[in-house]
Symmetry: C2
Subunit: 700 residues, 2 copies
Amino acid sequence: MGSAVAPELPHPFDPLTPDEIATAIATVKKAHGGNVFFNVVALQEPRKADMTAWLAAPETAARPKRVADVVVIAPGNKVYDALVTLDEPKITKWELLEGQQPIITMEELQLVEHICRKDPRVIEQCVLSGIAAEDMDKVFCDPWTIGYDERFGSSVRLQQAFIYYRPHIDNCQYQYPFDFCPIYDADKKEIIAIDIPKVRRKLSTAPSIDYHPAAVEARGGYRDNLKPINISQPEGVSFQVKGREIEWQNWKLHIGFNYREGIVLNNITFNDKGNVRPLFYRLSLAEMVVPYGNPEHPHQRKHALDQGEYGAGYMTNSLSLGCDCKGSIHYIDANFPTRAGGLRTIKNAICIHEEDSGILFKHTDFRDESVIVTRGRRLIIQQIFTAANYEYVVAWIFHQDGTIQPEIKLTGILNTYAMDPDEDTHGWGTQVYTGVNAHNHQHLFSLRINPNIDGPNNTVFMADAVPSEAPVGSPENFYGNGFYAKRTKLATTGEAMTEYNGATSRSWDMCNTSKLNPFSRKPVSYKLVSREVPGLLPKEGSLVWKRAAFARHAVHVTKYRDDQLWPAGRHVPQTSGEPSRGLPEWIGDGSESVEDTDIVLWHTFGLTHFPAPEDFPVMPAEPMSLLLRPRNFFSSNPVLDVPPSYSSTPSQLLANGSGVLDATDKISKLAFPGGSEDSVSNGTSCCATNGNVNGTANGH
Amino acid sequence: MGSAVAPELPHPFDPLTPDEIATAIATVKKAHGGNVFFNVVALQEPRKADMTAWLAAPETAARPKRVADVVVIAPGNKVYDALVTLDEPKITKWELLEGQQPIITMEELQLVEHICRKDPRVIEQCVLSGIAAEDMDKVFCDPWTIGYDERFGSSVRLQQAFIYYRPHIDNCQYQYPFDFCPIYDADKKEIIAIDIPKVRRKLSTAPSIDYHPAAVEARGGYRDNLKPINISQPEGVSFQVKGREIEWQNWKLHIGFNYREGIVLNNITFNDKGNVRPLFYRLSLAEMVVPYGNPEHPHQRKHALDQGEYGAGYMTNSLSLGCDCKGSIHYIDANFPTRAGGLRTIKNAICIHEEDSGILFKHTDFRDESVIVTRGRRLIIQQIFTAANYEYVVAWIFHQDGTIQPEIKLTGILNTYAMDPDEDTHGWGTQVYTGVNAHNHQHLFSLRINPNIDGPNNTVFMADAVPSEAPVGSPENFYGNGFYAKRTKLATTGEAMTEYNGATSRSWDMCNTSKLNPFSRKPVSYKLVSREVPGLLPKEGSLVWKRAAFARHAVHVTKYRDDQLWPAGRHVPQTSGEPSRGLPEWIGDGSESVEDTDIVLWHTFGLTHFPAPEDFPVMPAEPMSLLLRPRNFFSSNPVLDVPPSYSSTPSQLLANGSGVLDATDKISKLAFPGGSEDSVSNGTSCCATNGNVNGTANGH
Ligand SMILES: [Co+2]
Ligand SMILES: [Co+2]
């Protein structure tokens, strides 16, 4: 336990190393000149056929080649998709794209504010809104992808600029939104239009409400009644790391990271009593969309597909010990190109740590109070990314019992818009502070699951909890209590487009129908248990419905194909949705079989956010999560061998406690040792139940 | 912070003290003789009118009287409901009940096994099933409430006995179920009938699968790769306790406990910047039902209403430091009568502690990487109760932001039934181990909420996230993205019987319509956000549907009345459901107004459990939870004054970091300090984001 050894060669799933990024860049520059911008230099993931052959026989099979997936903007705003084979090195693909816009980099975003501040028409609008022309250094701009604007199409590279004001440099700008919206041309580096509402709204002059320390001090200061909680692992952590492969509590997996999805987990296996069983070939958050619900122009353009348009990797935070992460932490960095062809390293892009997870299992026999209590652990692999105003804390939580729990916490700041003091929001938003309208929106994520449940050939079944069809009083259901799990096989891509049903606790089972559990005789499976599954609220035929087609259904299933990674398409900015990219292209007429084959399950989950003043000026983190649970996969509870904190058996109790296992944590203590006589108890030794019916004291 | 002072007089919400229990018992015995059994001697909660008057003016208003609620079984199996005013003391009510059975105590349960073992017909059935008559000491019996059996009615006090075998005293009996079911008469203390299935099943002779240490050692022993995680609060805890009143992070509440519901939380308030605002008068889990879905006789009787029939207080565990609870823990005991009139104390019935809860809020400005990151805390008030085979871990989690999160974890052991090797379960159950059929079932809980949102007059609105009614292309919704929260007022008890709708992310808002948020101008409210809300699967008209009427709907709302505490009625065992007790009686024709008045919201939540081998022989804990969230209640984020771990502002960064707030936890450390060169990073100071586009390193 507790080592971190760097391997010699990159693992085929590893992101490109700094050297590899440099090689790819140099190769492209050599062939196409130095005046190109690198929007993407990333690993082209190994072809699955090559990779599975190598994973099966790493000593004998060919090691998959290292290939760079490169997206370049060359002079004349020409966009190229390229591949560079790195060991030679050699450009094997160089394809000009027409009318497609690659992902927007942080560097591109950074430029817009400076140009807005100098644009005469923007200055004019700021002055009209109530500020002095010489105060343009107090004007700030959050550039967003434009979504799609039919007036400008897809050929010109655009951003829309949300404009805010900071009376003081440290003010939270989102409390002072302007009402107009400049449109920025990234090719020309200039503002080409401004959307101005018919009814104008003045800039708010409300007193500021800030979250920074000086503001809190001015309001009376910080609370002083929080005592520290210390978490430590004096003997080290329980996981082992070799490069980017991690082993922990029978789990083994590879932790990748890319510009787009951020964390990517590959080749997840579980050691089941010595038998290493494959579970998932690849898991990631593959796309997301945040549609806003105000139908007034131009708010329909607010529906960022943050991962395809900016990248959850590009936007990720550098994490910090004792601050973002508490305990004993392992970090992994991320490496990306700069646009000009340099290297950008994000230190501590991923954090990994263990947590106590409370009681793993417990049972007390009511007869004699014989008891077992075992505490659980979880492993957390986490990143945090900042999408302009919002923060997303993405955690992949692994439990000892074989459950994987992706969890997302939303925090950060609401996107805001100006409102007049007596304006009616018409229900499309909420005034969260004087002059600040926060519009309704959804946060919808696409979880991409390539299952490998005891092998690559899997089938998805939908399961609904339903009553017996037989009526009350009939012989088959006389007392009316019969119910069962109704299973529906999703045999084709068309059948697999399915919705959530809360009333039937609907779940989806990824099954290997060739392997039956020895006891239940049901196929081994992992169950997708997800309860935060709102429907896409933009209507059928709407702009969002067309562009973010993956969000139309809670579940899609497709046949696995290399490079079908991102369900809104490869190049997302400024797609019109006509036709819809990604999933609808892959699904076609819906006739393809997804039965007993290598499949991908795409799951849309998330939440609908109606803002309230509690969310302002910064939001307390709101979590949502789902579970991938082994069902009929193991032949029994897989955590029976986790050491208990305490165990007594009937025979031990009959022998006056001889042989009782007491591994109680000795660090824990009473909150008020030696407190008042009658309300504070002495910590008894362990784990009694129900009291002694004749006496008063308890414990063993 | 950090004191525990015992007050002089019991708080009016306090459970009866040992002295008060003794007084009540002595008073009853003096009047009615010593030969009575005490099923209940508990606090009759103070009348709300008296209590609110006293809470408003404790110095001048009359202190509510201490009254004992007593249920007695007198010779001749006569059941009496009684009240004893304790300060005189005096019996003020003594009412004979006809055809009603009071709660079954642990002592009554303990008797059944001994009688089963000696009953000739039970012995005969055991022998028929395959064991020797002299092995009856290896036969064990879990007595359950009989539910309702129309052959026997409600006048005779009954239990049904689930019979199991232990080849060795330490074996888990649930792997060796018998197929027959004796019925026990608690009045006569004898077996009066045995339900024997038409098709017989032999006792399993499969090898045992146990979870006790000797069994684990025989299978290869415990895993040895878990390193300790220590959690400590060297400066003490952040909460204060006075008797059973607790204050923590602006919260204040009283922690009660009764035989029936276990933990009861009263008079919950939140100090909002000096203004103590009432939130909830009373919160509890008021009832539950666990219907099993096998329609074959006599399994319809398996639908325990565990709280009404056995009591979540009576069944509660004595908790133990460092085992059930980790960190710095405060415990509270519970006191109950014995049946004969003694005292039974459960030490450490309630545990209370704080936990780090991860990031409370974070935001990074992408321009300059100015950042704030603040960690959160939660307070956990917890009990664990054992209902025969199952364990329920009930936690009331309080968050700093005003959210209350009731959480229930299910663990323990499945209820099991015999099955033959090649038997078809017909989908009503799962073979979880050789010869062990675990039937489908639901765990449905009734959360009772008496809101007090800025005062007692509240109204419930149902909120659904729905698209704009206007079609795509219409002027009102041209791009089709409009959506809003549709609110439906639940004005009467009839209108308030409502179901969950996952597709619209349905929630229920408890509002004070007389108080509007200053910014949103919406009523101050607490929102019930609950996503584990299966419908009741036993059909309309079924036995369960009649007996557990509270489970018919996700939400009921009634007008508050003293003593309307338990939605399946006061005395639950052997109710026929004709008529249904509790909620349906109180709701009547559904015409009563529940608008702008003192109301109770009853929420049914839980899960449907289709067993799998992973759940056997003991279940890894499965959690479910819901949220009560302040919405439009506070005028801004209520946790802005929680000290951040790190904060830097734009002006501080321009001043080279001067004035940056760094309160990073110094205990946390790298998992692999001084690990490998390229994969292990040095913990940078704090909280950078996005990398530096020109260089490699980061941090501040
Ligand atoms: Co949001
Ligand atoms: Co269950």
